[in-house]
Structures are given as structure tokens and as C-alpha cells.
Amino acid sequence: MEYKSVLTTCPYCGCGCNMFLQVIDGHLVGTLPSKTHEISRGSLCIKGWNSHEWVESPDRLRTPLIRGEDGELHPASWDEALDLIGSRLQAIIDDHGGDAVGLLSSARCTNEENYLMQKLARAVVGTNNIDHCARLCHASTVAGLAGTLGSGAMTNSTPDIPLADCILVTGSNTVEQHPLIGSRVILAKERGAKLIVVDPRETPLSTMADIWLHQRPGTDVAWLNAMMHVILREGLEDSEFIEARTEGFEEMRPVLDRYTPQVSEEITGIPAAELEAAARMYASADKGCILYSMGITQHTNGTDNVKSVANLALLTGNMGRKGTGVNPLRGQNNVQGACDMGALYNVFPGYQKVADEAARAKFDEAWGVTCSDVTGLTVVEMMHAAHDGKMKGMLILGENPMLSDPDINHVREALSTLDLLVVIDIFLSETAAMADIVLPAASWAEREGTFTATDRRVQRIRKAIEPVGESRPDWRIICDIAGRLGAEGFDFQSPVHIMEEVVTVTPQYGGIDYERLEEGGLQWPCPSPDHPGTPILHVDKFTRGLGLFSAVEHQEPNELPDDEYPMTLTTGRMMFHYHTGTQTRRTPALDQEVPTGYVELNPEDAKRLGVNDGQMVEVKSRRGKIHIPAEVTEKVQPGVVFIPFHFAECAANLLTNPALDPVAKIPEFKVCAVSVEPVKGGA
């Protein structure tokens, strides 16, 4: 008998829990949380505990697949598949230029793999059309916080959240989406910290909050401005901090003056007195900590929302100390790292701007090429370009836009028009099923690398078992594709060597190496080998120097309810499933909890529509319609419905609105107009 207990990092959310995969005779038999790890501390959520269950699933892709003349996907050898990708991609580049190709990288993959994907795009294909699903979750954070603070990442660390005296959670269902951060909030609350939740929907945290404000979806700037209005009116701001550490306060003030709690009440529906109480509670805490997530970012004014959140923390001096900060909770195991590695249309690794000539010169020299200065396309823009026939080929790594992107009907049409669609994945996802060529990737339990958790914590993942079937690690696949395109600079023998190149071009990662990571995670910025890492950003000065206040005005969502589509749809996730469900729906322990999707409908609306709990309803928007069972619940307010987006058979994203935030290009997943009616003949 061979038994191994392999320390690795959880493949799901951005908490970055560490676990031991339990391996007997080369097969995964269980998971144990690490007791000595700072984040997991002997615990995991239900997804982490069962993360081994899908790895050896019979559904795993085991060989490359090529679409034959019969229109079906057929098993092929690696050489056949790679040669075909090489020749067809090269033909597109030769005929239409590199900008006719789009690459989607993956927040599920390692830093090393994301680095290689953007290098493949920029140094080999010759395009900045590289992006990934951070566009769909925290693009507005990256843009908003980079502008106001100088760094688009969580300012503080997960372990110091419980040190806060007051925690303000908005647009984050923390317990379900970041369970081991949510549990810290619960413990902090039990210990006596104040808890304020601002969320249109009931969540496990809202039910235990000291104050729960439920705003009309898409009105966050209004209540945030009004909170600041109250803080200034009552003299609860931190004048010393504003004076010494910030700029732009005087320009912002006149805007705040107009957002009285009454004005906010008209816009948001939050009673003025409750808002005032929340403002006082947050502002009078010595250490106030803000946690936010998609409820803030996924709006056509997402960047403004983020700036507004930053304003609130700056106004009260809640920055640069333990238990404070502006803490965007990143949703995926490595979405922070995928951004850090420059898998974004406008920045190289380390957020060095493509538009900056000096940055381009640096990467030209590092890679021995001339990088394009043409601005790249983002996730949704790539789909538009494909739809318009301008984009000819796409290479998609570990993403499933056929379920995760807004307006899936449009995505389907877009992907169908491509001359070449290559998908690298572990399962035949809805997107992979449309591909011309599918390459089977090794899973997280089958390869080496690093993930960067939400608190900028770079951690190792380690190989526990051999790749199933003929699957190969993504980094190896990307190198092979680059090789088929005749590129040099991709002859890496292991992820260690890739990281050695990453650190030479990514200042924040300058001091990171695998040997140091053996002793535990390192939080960036970690610029040099002797640097201990940075648990808290902006301690004495902001990354950009002074913290910048931004005058931000309320703006209505792109699509509001009307006579034809009288209700507001908001989308999100749940504890028991993860994103497009390719892994969690193949996990018996999770599938048995929640086997399919549902639409949450307030009892008042249900009564008006004549819908019973469990009854099938049709939810329709301007873009599509789905049939889905109703869950009649007071978790949602009257007039608002909620659908989790994990389930292909009742996909929320057939309905969602692809309208974009003009700065961050994030779609408005959190608000669109829908109608709901009982399905005729539906039980």
C-alpha cells in the first residue's frame, strides 16, 4: 500500500485554504484540512472537503478531441491535435493578423499558466486580446482601486478581519462565497464586533447583522454617498487622516452635500434613519473593515461603486491598520493571480500598462519580440468581435463562457461563427462541446504551481496523483502550442522555471520563489528575496502616494423594469456549487444538496402571479427565456428575483444584460428586467 498526504491549496474560492489530499495507491480517497495553516486552521467548507470527488470522474477528458467532417468530436493524438492547432492558428495570423485571435485565460489555473497564456498572446500571436473571467467579477475593483489607492487588491489580510470593531459587508454573501472568511465574520460578531450588511437579498450574515439595509439593486452609490453625508454632518470623519493621507476631498464634498439620507431613501428605498444609524456605527468604530464583492462590482457603474466604497474608508481613516481596509473578496482560487500575471487586455504582468511605452520596451527586451500597442479586447468585446466576423479564432483555457458570460444566446452565435475554436479543459463543458479542437488538461490535483488567494497570498499547489488519461498540465499544453507556432522562450521544464521568469518581470512578485513558498504563503508586494511580504497595504503611504477621493454620482442601471418586464433579476452563486458547475455538479455530496437551479420569488409576487413553491415558471428577458422551479422565499424583496448561475438547464445568463461599465467593461449581471409567469401545464 502506498499512502500519501499531499499538502495543497483548495481549488475553489479565493480564501486560499490549505488541505491534505489523501492518496492511496495513486487514487484520491479523501481530504483533510490543514490544522497548521493560517487560513484553514483545521476547517474547510463543504466544497473544499469534497474537492477530491470529481477529480477521477469518468467524465474527465482523457484524450484530445478533433471535430471531424461528420460534425462530431473524435479522439485524436496529441501530435495530431497540436499540429492542427498550430497550422490553423498560424493561417489565421498570416491571413488576418494577430488581432483576429482572442485568448481567454483562466482564474482556475495557476499563476505560471496565466503568465504563459498572456505571453503566448503578446509574444507569439501578437495581440493584446487576452482576458479572463476577472472581467466578469472584479474588473471594476482592479480599475477603481488602482485609481484611488494605487493597487486593485484587498488592502488587508484574511486573518486580521476578526480584529475589526465593525464589519461592513456589502454585495458579498460572504458565508456562502468565501466560507472561511464568512466564518471569521461570524466569530467576530459573536465576540462583540458590530456587523452591518447592505444587500438587497437576505444572506446568512444579514440575518445576524446589527443592521441590515436592503437597497434596491443598482443604487449603491446613493447609499454610500449618503452614509458619507451623515458622517460629515455629524463630524465623524477622520480629519487628520484626510489632511495627511488623501487628496480630492474638497472636490468630492459638494457632491456628498446633495446626498442627504432622504435623497438616498428615494433612490435606494433604505429608510433614512436606518442609514444614519449604520453610518454612525461604521464611522465610530476604531477599526472599521469593509468587505465587498460582486454586488458592488457587477454593474454598469461598477467602477464608480468601488470608488465610492474606497471614499468611505478614506473618509474614516480606515486604512493601513489591522482590522480595517477595503477588502474586495476575489471569487476564484486564482483570480487575483490571473490579474497579477497580466491575463488582462491592457496590462502586462504586475499591472504594467500596455499603453506605456517604457513597459512595452521592457517586455520587448525580456521576450525578444515587439509587443503590439493596439489595445486588446475584453471578454464581452471578444464575443462581439466574433459575432461581427472580425475575430476568427479563439483559444479558451479553462473557461466556460457558454454559461458564465451574459446573454448566452449571443455567445453561442459568436462562437459558432469562428473559423477556429480551441478549448483546453478538464471536462467537456458547454463551451468545449462547441470547439473544433479540445485538449484535455490535468486537474489541480495532478500538477504543480501557485495560486494567489484573495489577500494576495501566493501559495503552492502540489501534484497528488498522475494526470488522468492522457491529460497534461495546462502549462505544458500552452508551451506546446507556442512551439507549434514556432515560438522560442517556451521551453520550460516545470512551473518552477516559469516562476523564475515571472519574478524577473513582475515587481510585486520579485522575491517569490518555490523554496520560500515551502515555508508557507507570501503576500505580495514581495519585491525582493529578503522581503517578508506585505499583509497590509498602504500602511504609511498609499501605493499611488495619496489616497484619492472621487466625486461619484448615482446612475441608474442600464435596464430597468417596465410594463413588459416588470421585475428585477439579480444573479449570483451559492454555497454548494461553484460557477458553471463542471466540478461541483459532478460531486455527489454537493449535487445531492442542490441538484438544479431555482428562482427565488417573494411570497407577495408569488401570490400575485399565482405561483406555488416548487412550481415551474418561465422567466423571460429581452435576450432569452428559461423554465425554472420557483422557490418562494422572503430572502428576496418584492419585485426582485434571484437566480444562481451555475445550472445549464436553467441558465441565468440566457437572461442577463451584457451592457458594460465603460471603464472596467464588466457586464451588469446584478440587474436586468425580466417577467415571470407560471409555465402552462407546469406542476
Binding site: 500500500m1 499512502y3 500519501k4 498526504s5 499538502l7 490549505n18 491534505f20 489523501q22 492511496i24 495507491d25 487514487h27 480517497v29 479523501g30 481530504t31 483533510l32 484540512p33 490543514s34 490544522k35 497548521t36 495553516h37 486552521r41 483545521g42 476547517s43 474547510l44 467548507c45 463543504i46 473544499g48 472537503w49 458565508v175 456562502e176 466560507p179 472561511l180 464568512g182 466564518s183 461570524i186 466569530l187 459573536e190 446568512p204 440575518t207 445576524m208 503552492r460 515551502e518 515555508e519 508557507g520 451559492m574 454555497m575 454548494f576 455530496a589 445531492q592 444538496e593 442542490v594 441538484p595
Partner: protein, 270 residues
């Protein structure tokens, strides 16, 4: 004590009567279970923090039933094996227990009343453990305050099933905590009266008070306060002590017809 343990494990391995020894290893800044083989460098062998090793031994039995192994186990872990063996989840003949005595400090921290394993090979058994377990003083049961206390505690639950997953004696093939007949799937927090009391009921004649469930609980629910009280009830009513005698049948596994509840009078009024 780790040094002593390395010597003992080396001896057991040298004798060649086991395929390997399950213990703990410190590696890469983390401590976790590890299977030591003959000839392995034992410098990385450590003794704490405690992990639910009986759980790993159950996996061993499941996947490699013919392998005889050694295991460095504490008193509670040995008692877990006894409970598992009654439920045919491990074969005691196939496990050589290398008994590890908790230090006095460790025993105190756990509130241990049960003491060391039968055959202590590492460390010295702590003398003078308390006779009875000391429970938290809970609010009065009469006016519903205690119910409120438990409701508040269980309302923190995030349904990770960690208390079940890590439990070295949870071994049902189909877990009733996940049975939709009792507990609605996907509900958060799960209903206290079903989800948590099903677990508590199942622990009443098997909990060995290792406290692994509490260590795994991300929201610090004092689970063994509930299980320990039930355990005492079972002990009193059925004269049953968990983890002691592999031949003693768990009372809740049998029909109550065969094993009548002891009369309250005989127990001195309970």
C-alpha cells in the same frame, strides 16, 4: 518526546511486523498525517497537533484491507478504533497501536477524563485526571433559555459537514444528515432540530470525546458539550462506556427489546 517517538517507531518498523507506521510529519511548514516506512528518515516525525488518524486507518482498511499497519495513537484515538471495530470499519488485528500518552497540559486543554492508550510506548501517562468531565455551565433549561443557547450556537452553522467528515467514529454508509427526508437540501443554516440533533443522536453511543469536530468547526460550535451530555446519559442508562471494550455492543445498534433501559431507581434517581 518526538525524539523518543522516533526511536519507538524505528523499532516497530525494524521488527517488520507492519507495512508502515501512520503518524504525523512536519514538512513544508505544515504538520499532517504521514506513512513512515522502514528505512525512512524519521527526523520529520512529530506528535502534534492531533489529526484524526483513525479516519485515515479506516481509509486504509477500505482500500487495502490486507495491509497490517502501525499507528501512533493517543488514548481517544485508540478508543475510536474500538468503536470503529464494533461497526466493522477497522480490523484491530491489522493495526499495531503505538500508544502515545498526552502530556498533562494537553490532557487539561482537552478536558480529558479518559486517559492514555492501553499500551503507552511514548510519553508518560498523566496521573490524576478529573473523575468526571466538566461541562460548560449552560443557561437554565426550564424557561427555554438553554434551547435559545443551542439555537444561537447552531445558527452559526455553515453546513460544511466538517464535524461529520472529520469524526473518527462517523461511519454510516448513508449519512442521515444529508437525507432530504430529514433535512432540506441546500438550506443554510440547516435546521437545528434535524441536522444537528441527528448527528448528536448518532454520537450518543460512539463519541469518544476527541474533540476533532470542534477543532474542524469553522464557527466554534461547542459540539462535544452536546455529545458529552448525551454520552453520560447513555453511560448511565445502559451502563455503556464508549471505546472501552471491543466486545460490548453499542446499545443504540441493538433493539431496545433485548437491552432494556436500566430502571431509574437502580441508578439512584438519575
Amino acid at each position: 518526546m518526538s525524539e523518543e517517538a522516533r526511536g519507538v517507531v524505528a523499532e516497530v518498523l525494524a521488527k517488520g511486523e507492519v507495512d508502515g507506521v501512520l503518524g504525523l510529519r512536519e514538512d513544508e511548514g505544515a504538520v499532517g498525517p504521514h506513512y513512515f516506512r522502514k528505512g525512512d528518515d524519521l527526523d520529520s516525525l512529530v506528535l502534534s497537533p492531533k489529526y484524526a488518524l483513525p479516519l485515515v486507518l479506516r481509509w486504509f482498511r477500505l482500500h487495502s484491507p490486507d495491509t497490517r499497519v502501525g499507528a501512533v495513537l493517543r488514548g481517544c484515538e485508540e478508543r475510536a478504533l474500538v468503536e470503529l471495530s464494533k461497526r466493522r470499519q477497522v480490523d484491530l488485528e491489522m493495526i499495531e497501536v503505538i500508544g502515545l500518552a498526552c502530556t498533562a497540559e494537553e490532557a487539561k486543554e482537552c478536558g480529558c477524563v479518559n486517559g492514555s492508550p492501553t499500551n503507552v510506548m511514548i510519553g508518560t501517562p498523566t496521573e490524576g485526571l478529573p473523575e468526571r468531565r466538566e461541562f460548560l455551565a449552560l443557561p437554565d433549561a426550564d424557561d427555554g433559555a438553554r434551547l435559545d443557547y443551542w439555537k444561537a450556537q447552531y445558527s452559526k452553522c455553515i453546513k460544511c459537514y466538517g464535524c461529520k467528515n472529520v469524526c473518527p467514529v462517523c461511519a454510516c454508509e448513508v449519512c442521515m444528515m444529508a437525507d432530504h427526508g430529514w433535512v432540506r437540501g441546500g438550506s443554510l443554516p440547516p435546521k437545528f432540530a434535524t441536522f444537528h440533533l441527528i448527528k448528536a443522536y448518532h454520537m450518543a453511543d460512539r463519541c469518544i470525546e476527541c474533540r476533532e469536530c470542534e477543532a474542524a468547526c469553522p464557527v466554534s460550535i461547542p459540539l462535544t458539550e452536546m455529545y458529552g451530555r448525551l454520552l453520560r446519559d447513555v453511560e448511565r442508562r445502559f451502563d455503556y462506556v464508549t471505546g472501552a471494550d471491543p466486545e460490548q455492543r453499542p446499545p443504540l445498534l441493538t433493539t431496545l427489546m433485548d437491552e432494556p433501559i436500566l430502571e431509574e431507581e437502580e441508578e439512584g434517581g438519575g
